[in-house]
Symmetry: C2
């Protein structure tokens, strides 16, 4: 189809809008990555001030998300994108929503850290949590890179790595059960730690969802095989207790 001059003009306006929105996505991604790392560091070094910083930084993340949703809606209204362009904008809105939820989990981690620093530390566990958080942060970085470059191979790689995050969660879940059974004084702390581990595992799910949007944008289809899933705590422990 040969575009006439006004169509080309409209297409360029849409592209400019999309670029501006993508720039906001990347800025938001940077804030969320920092929140993940800071939250993990605050937990492992029992740093209340850093935890508070994470809690406060969530507002900026939420504001960016609202801005992106608004910009995306205006772009749809003004440029009337159809077919692929419309799907792209909808994918961008979903990615912003995933980022916002990852930010929420980091904030929740920081809140629980504020509680945990009041308690006797549970033996060596924060290093595993921190490793898990670091892994999710790298996945997020790669997912956002794959988004900018529309690189579905990198996105698929991110998606596969989520399996490892799930396995790390399973192993932590088992550890916390053990600590609680060994010493009931660990129970409250372990409940919070378990929620934190679960939050990181959920962050991984949202990073995976971002990667899947990229695969969809790049290849036109969602991945064939169902998303790998290895949170098996609802199965592995059915015989427990």
């Amino acid at each position: 189809m040969v575009m006439d001059k006004s169509e080309r003009h409209i297409a360029r306006a849409y592209d400019r809008d999309l670029e501006a929105i993508q720039a906001h996505i990347m800025k938001m991604g940077g804030l969320v990555e920092a929140a993940i790392l800071d939250a993990a560091q605050a937990l492992s070094t029992r740093d209340e001030e850093l935890a508070e910083k994470v809690r406060n930084s969530d507002r900026a993340i939420d504001e960016l998300e609202a801005l992106i949703q608004q910009e995306a809606a205006l772009t749809i209204a003004e440029r009337q994108p159809m077919a692929f362009d419309l799907r792209t904008i909808l994918a961008v809105m979903k990615i912003a929503n995933n980022l916002e939820r990852i930010g929420d989990y980091a904030k929740n981690m920081a809140k629980r850290t504020g509680v945990l620093v009041q308690m006797k530390p549970v033996e060596e566990n924060s290093s595993s949590v921190r490793r898990m958080a670091k892994m999710v942060e790298v996945m997020l970085k790669d997912a956002l890179d794959s988004f900018v470059q529309r690189d579905s191979e990198l996105a698929e790689d991110v998606r596969q790595r989520d399996l490892e995050v799930d396995q790390m969660y399973n192993s932590l879940f088992r550890n916390y059960l053990t600590y609680m059974m060994e010493d009931p004084r660990n129970i409250t702390a372990c409940m919070h730690l378990h929620f934190i581990a679960k939050n990181i595992e959920r962050m991984g799910d949202h990073v995976t969802a971002i990667a899947e949007q990229v695969i969809y944008l790049d290849t036109g289809a969602y991945p064939d095989d169902p998303r790998p899933k290895a949170d098996r705590t609802s199965i592995d422990y059915s015989e427990g207790a």
Copy 2:
């Protein structure tokens, strides 16, 4: 401003679109309400079949959400709503997203029920969980009614009731800690029950978010006072263990 004929034509087309989307929201709401009640009943009667039904019904909820998001985007693209009309469509998209997340929590509850029925029951607790779920379901029903009628008073009432849900969660959290400390064999079951209680508490948060969208649509502003919040487990238990 006097509308010319073509503007009136466009306005009516937008209204028709909005009505169709709202009908889907109500249908989705009905499915989500049923999922909440069934999930709670399956848990309290240890009914694995019903739990499986809830798990399977989540797909229909997800499909409706995807349909609504698609319809909303098309309405924005084709009708180019501005100002209030655009905000209304964005609010509808958010409500669909909240409903989808409530459905996810019901599904997760049903998954954990499948695990819990394999274990020795923890003494009387399912009736509190069921009461809490029932309360959230009624709140959801009222929130959706308030949406259809753009009734911000009813929406505000729903919002206030979320406080009670939070208090019920706090009380359950305390009970589970007690059960775990009394008998370590309860630990695994209580971890799952605690997650279920937390899931219901989060459902309440999403119902509240729906009510807040209604208040925004009806009054043009979000509620002034910050949302009442009574999940104080991250504070109340800081001295524990």
